[in-house]
């Protein structure tokens, strides 16, 4: 397929989704965190609202239930554990070529 058709298709998809996002943003209260927006919209219905689409001053924060529930240590530990396991597994498989069961597994 022609490259312009591929990127045209992608741009069309992005435009439709972005327009839907913009409508959803304004009709569900504007600049609100997702959990608060979701709870308000489902309890009170649509409410017009505005605000910045991007608010860099807010920064990247850990989800409220974890941050406010004092679970940051558990969260960090879980992420570290999963990454160590995943990368360890990947390195092992990459160097040793699997667990010696490749013949058994059908592709």
């Amino acid at each position: 397929m022609q490259r312009w058709q591929q990127y045209g298709g992608l741009l069309g998809l992005i435009a439709v989704c972005f327009a839907a996002g913009l409508w959803g943003f304004t009709s569900t209260g504007g600049a609100l965190p997702w959990a608060k927006r979701s709870a308000k919209a489902l309890q009170r219905g649509v409410q017009e609202g505005g605000g910045a689409l991007v608010d860099l001053g807010r920064g990247i924060v850990v989800a409220g239930p974890i941050r406010k529930g004092g679970m940051m240590l558990e969260f960090g530990g879980l992420v570290a554990l999963l990454f160590v396991l995943g990368i360890g597994l990947y390195v092992y498989v990459d160097r040793c070529g699997g667990f010696g069961e490749e013949g058994r597994s059908a592709q």
Partner: protein, 226 residues
């Protein structure tokens, strides 16, 4: 990023049972297919990394669209495949619910949503690559489509179930949910483009990871020839 962020008891009991049963049915079907068909160990390793990345990103609220989180389920689906993608969705949701992010009672519904994202992204990516698309537009479009499917499913689950304590008539609830789904489509754009860049990078350095060449071909091509 589709994910139902409602507390315990938000859904009526029948809906809770229904989505839990459907979710359990999907996971059972996945496990059955894996047990019968098998999977490559390389995919298991990728799934491990995918689960770690997805879980970490799941908990990070980024300052766009008022504050949202990403899932990376589209990326996970493309890299690990639809079967492991579904299992990763279950694992990530269990860990998230254990930390208070998402209700334990909604594990079935949330697993269904995130598994649908991974499954749709995988098949969309395969279909677009089969139509001879480049890696970036194919992966970005596939991830966006997968996430959009998840968002629509999330909306459908909420509307079908109804929300305990909400005085909204079904019609008003549907409009409110449509707004939430719309916002999710906006988030899908961000995640889709990010997925496109990641998959394109992987395809340039390790095409076998994205299924563009098999492992044997890669090993042969990296061998030194006289």
């Amino acid at each position: 990023m589709a994910h139902i962020h409602l507390g315990e008891g938000s859904f009526p009991l029948w809906a809770l049972l229904l989505w839990t049963l459907v979710g359990a049915g999907l996971i059972s079907a996945i496990v059955y297919r894996i047990r019968n068909g098998g999977i490559k160990t390389r995919q298991i390793a990728l799934a491990g990394i995918g689960a770690a990345a997805s879980f970490a990103v799941f908990q990070l609220n980024i300052p766009v669209w008022g504050g949202i989180h990403m899932n990376l389920t589209g990326l996970v689906g493309i890299l690990a495949g639809p079967l492991l993608g579904g299992l990763i969705a279950l694992v990530v949701n269990i860990f998230s619910a254990a930390l208070g992010h998402g209700a334990v009672g909604l594990l079935g519904a949330n697993t269904l949503i995130n598994a649908a994202e991974a499954i749709v992204a995988y098949y969309a990516f395969k279909a677009l690559m089969g139509m001879d698309w480049d890696v970036f537009p194919a992966s970005a479009s596939a991830a966006t489509l997968g996430l959009s499917a998840g968002a629509v499913l999330m909306g459908a689950i909420i509307v079908i179930s109804g929300v305990n304590g909400s005085a909204l008539p079904r019609g008003d609830l549907t409009i409110a949910v449509a707004g939430l789904v719309g916002l999710n489509l906006g988030v899908a754009v961000i995640e889709g483009i990010l997925t496109g860049f990641v998959v394109q990078f992987l395809a340039s350095v390790r095409p076998d990871l994205v299924g563009l060449t098999d492992q044997e071909t890669r090993e042969e091509s990296t061998g030194v020839t006289a």
